[in-house]
């Protein structure tokens, strides 16, 4: 029963992105990759274009420009006026939106399958023909500042997350928030957006994903007609971000905010991500997160901290291995009323130490692997989610083969590999420990 710690649960849910399905893939002559996922149960299609560019690819001082550009992509082209893209989608009974992360920016529409043609025509148009006006840019900048207000400034947990991230990454741009630092967002200009667009939006930096009631041949013909005619940008190069130096000193932060009624502790450790052809360490970490925190009743941290002792109202672990560069492995404890953060942190450390001594419960691991097998059945019911899984993986440097191999790799991971991965990742020198507290807390950092 974890729904009452909604903020925590949403942020740290250790989901199992386990996917394997029949897919068709090909590449257009201009370098644009195409993935087709078939599901003929309903006459509906999801059309997505993913760009291999995100917040971690922004020029210094321009934080938030990738997300700002995502908003501006709805402001019109030579052919379509501001807002008209979405109006046309709606007029065809469809829905559309877009999202930005560290490693990708993606645009999608859900629509009747016989409207795929029109969606591709419009998406291809705005890949190269964006036309902005100063007025639209300035108004939309106010919108993203209100978005930051809503998502971050009004949410102490989100501000805490920004501070923890900034402490975790000393050199890599993952330490800068996706939406941007406020003082830099306020200065973003039309020139900044247009320069970023020119540098990164091109067919050879994009992946087309079509999922639903379509045939691969039909998608290929349409993709060649609309996207295939756009010339590749020869200046697009593989992404090379500044990497982390050796992390030799543990960091600890305390963020106090009067709006915090329920204090908690989060610790993240720098952790390897899934790499193409080399996913075993990440798979072991994925299973480690499941073993420590995947179930509110049976996993290690809730069992030790909520059942055996009543130190916590919530305890969990999280890891997201789909990332272009080094990611993090995290643990969290929300202490019970009357339990101070120092005691909670000590209890969390002790629980992890005991786990490393006691090893993996074979029955628990077997149950987790059963659920991995079942997820391959359940996932067929949600083709849009599957499409997103492919998009995230392919913009994070993985291949279709890596995505398809992932469930089998997970199933093949042994207890010894999980414990070895745990011993490697739980290195306090790479860790950031964060305390979120309310006003007037007497507690002091150790």
């Amino acid at each position: 029963m974890t729904r009452y710690i909604a903020v925590i649960a949403l942020t740290f849910m250790a989901a199992l992105p386990l996917r394997a399905a029949e897919v068709a893939t090909f590449t257009l002559d201009n370098g644009m990759d195409v993935v087709v996922l078939e599901d003929h149960r309903a006459p509906v299609v999801v059309h997505m274009v993913w760009y291999r560019v995100g917040a971690a690819d922004e020029p210094p001082g321009k934080s938030g420009i990738s997300h700002f550009l995502e908003h501006l992509m709805f402001k019109g082209t030579e052919a379509l006026g501001p807002g008209e893209f979405s109006d046309v989608v709606a007029a065809n009974g469809g829905t559309d939106n877009a999202f930005t992360s560290f490693d990708y920016t993606a645009y999608f529409q859900r629509v009747a399958a016989d409207r795929l043609d029109l969606m591709m025509e419009m998406e291809a148009d705005r890949m190269v023909n964006l036309r902005l006006t100063e007025e639209d840019v300035l108004t939309e900048r106010d919108v993203i500042l209100e978005e930051r207000n809503q998502r971050t400034e009004n949410e102490p947990g989100a501000l805490f997350g920004e501070m923890r991230n900034a402490a975790q990454y000393k050199n890599h741009p993952y330490g800068i928030p996706i939406i941007g630092w406020r003082h830099e967002m306020e200065q973003l200009s039309q020139d900044d957006a247009e320069a970023f667009y020119a540098d990164h939006y091109a067919p050879n930096n994009a992946i087309l994903i079509v999922a639903g009631d379509v045939e691969p041949d039909e998608v290929r013909a349409l993709a060649e007609r609309y996207y295939g005619v756009i010339p590749a940008n020869p200046d697009i190069e593989p992404r090379m971000r500044p990497q982390e130096p050796p992390q030799l000193a543990e960091r600890r932060i305390t963020y106090e905010d009067p709006r915090v009624a329920q204090p908690y502790v989060v610790r993240t450790y720098l952790a390897p991500e899934r790499d193409p052809g080399d996913q075993r360490e990440a798979a072991a970490l994925q299973l480690l997160a499941e073993i420590l925190g995947g179930s509110g009743q049976t996993s290690v941290l809730p069992r030790k901290l909520q059942f055996e002792t009543q130190s916590a109202v919530y305890a969990s672990a999280f890891y997201s291995g789909t990332s272009l560069d080094d990611t993090t492995f995290g643990v969290v404890i929300v202490p019970s009323q009357g339990v101070e953060l120092a005691a909670a942190e000590a209890a969390l450390d002790q629980a992890v130490a005991e786990f490393l001594e006691e090893g993996v419960d074979a029955q628990q691991l077997e149950r987790i692997k059963t659920q991995i097998r079942a997820s391959l059945i359940y996932e067929q019911d949600n083709i849009q989610s599957l499409a997103r899984t492919y998009g995230m993986a392919l913009t994070s440097g993985l291949t279709v083969e890596d995505v398809q191999a992932w469930p089998d790799i997970l199933k093949s991971i042994t207890e010894e590999e999980i414990l070895a991965a745990a011993r490697r990742v739980f290195d306090r020198k790479t860790a950031v420990t964060g305390w979120l507290t309310g006003p007037g807390t007497e507690e002091v950092m150790q």
Binding site: M1, A42, V143, Q297, R303, Q310, T370, Q384
Partner: protein, 437 residues
């Protein structure tokens, strides 16, 4: 053997870009429990959605939060299994059960594989019919609920909705949080939880939707196995809720950079003949699919917010028209002015034929997109039954949308946009916003 199972196949035929190919059968179990079923055998699992009408509104006044805590405890031990044994059994089956509490109902959303359906149903039966409510589980989950309530007390969005509800509905259950208060939840006893279970989960107000790899015969058996052991009758429903709020502005001071506002007044019941017209009017004014008037005026033209929306809220015992928006403290005043002006404009001028046509195109085209997956379809089937809609509704729904005229809209707009009754609850430090009370 199974005498009472019968099927009513419904062909779907609507002039749409995409058709919702949903063939609904009505299944009645030997024991007399009715469900709507869509057979979809291509993937070997099924989703089942069960709702019991009543929900948190069945709370006894001094025991507010009892139904919510009870529902949260269903997965925390049942029959011969304690909380951890129960979870381990569920994980071994790779089934999922989700228990939720709403103002007017409690719900069970389950998903299980065909290969172990009987075991998964038996485990769910234990949770529904034989929950243990062990004292240690009660204390553990109570602490989680209380933690959530403490966080709610400093969350501007929750403060806004609690304030609006209290002013609108007073002592009626709708006037307070279904989670209860720190005081009421702290005082709940195990006996209160047991009693709440008897009040909220019974066979007399049950609605079931099932979608996936299961035949009508098997579903009939499943219904009796799963639900046959429940008591025949739950607690009586509370009376209608009187809406008590007048037009104006309420400010709840709270130190945060962005003010949040909830606004609205009384609405229109789901079974009103003009509900479709009201639904379309709301879509044009503040709906989420089209570029609504409010999104155009407040976000696109002025950049005053990231998002603004309005919605019809037809509950069982009252109905509202509501909206929400968030703007920086120094801009909320301007946002309220625009919303008020737009509320007045639509009340006075109505909508145009072009707006109506665009809304119809969108709503009829988007309708089939909702039917995407076994779980979502099961929830739709239950919602249709609870709203009293006919089993062939899906086939006729878009015709009903298309039949709405400008005259229908003009008639209903007088009822759902009443500028003099519009009340804002603003939480934050909104500069220049004058409270009227």
């Amino acid at each position: 053997m199974i005498r009472a199972v019968f099927a009513a196949f419904v062909a779907v035929a609507a002039a749409l870009p995409a058709k919702a190919a949903v063939d609904i059968q009505e299944v009645t179990s030997p024991g007399g429990i009715t469900a709507w079923l869509v057979e979809e055998p291509s993937i070997p699992f099924a989703a089942i959605e069960i709702r019991f009408q009543g929900g948190a509104s069945l709370d006894v006044p001094d025991e507010r939060g009892a139904v919510n805590l009870m529902m949260a405890l269903l997965e925390e031990g049942a029959a011969d299994l304690d909380a951890q044994d129960f979870a381990a059994a569920r994980e071994r089956l790779a089934a999922s059960y989700d228990f939720e509490t709403y103002d007017d109902s409690v719900s069970v959303s389950a998903r299980f594989l065909t290969e172990n359906r009987a075991e998964a149903v038996e485990l769910l039966r234990k949770a529904l019919v034989e929950p243990r409510f062990d004292q240690d589980a009660v204390e553990r989950v109570r602490a989680q609920v209380l933690s959530g309530l403490r966080s709610d007390a400093t969350d501007p969005n929750t403060i806004a909705s609690r304030t609006f509800d209290a002013m609108a509905f007073g002592d009626h259950p709708y006037g307070s949080s279904r989670d209860g208060t720190i005081e009421t939840v702290t005082a709940l006893t195990r006996d209160d939880i047991v009693e709440a279970h008897g009040r909220a989960i019974a066979r007399d107000r049950i609605y079931v939707g099932a979608v996936g790899d299961i035949t009508p015969e098997d579903l009939g058996t499943l219904l009796d196995d799963l639900l046959g052991g429940l008591p025949a009758e739950g607690a009586p429903l509370p009376p209608e809720a009187d809406y008590q709020l007048e037009g104006g502005v309420t400010v709840v001071p709270f130190d945060t950079p962005q003010s949040v506002a909830l606004f609205g007044h009384e609405g229109i019941p789901r079974d009103d003949p003009d509900f479709f017209a009201a639904y379309i009017a709301n879509e044009i004014f503040g709906g989420s699919g089209l570029q609504s008037r409010l999104m155009e005026e407040v976000r696109e033209k002025r950049g005053l917010t990231y998002g603004i929306g309005t919605y019809l809220v037809p509950m069982d015992l009252a109905e509202l028209v509501m909206g929400q928006v968030a703007s920086a403290n120094d801009r909320m005043s301007a946002t309220i002015d625009v919303v008020t002006a737009e509320w007045r404009r639509i009340a006075e001028e109505g909508v145009t034929q072009e707006e109506l046509d665009e809304a119809k195109t969108y709503l009829t085209g988007a309708y089939p997109l909702r039917f995407d997956g076994n779980g979502p379809i099961a929830r739709i089937l239950v919602g249709m039954q609870m709203d009293g809609l006919p089993i062939d509704y899906i086939a006729t729904r878009n015709d009903k949308v298309m039949a709405v005229t400008l005259g229908d809209i003009a008639r209903v707009i007088e009822r759902i946009y009443r500028p003099e009754d519009l009340h804002f609850v603003v939480v934050g430090q909104p500069a220049g916003v004058e409270a009227t009370n």
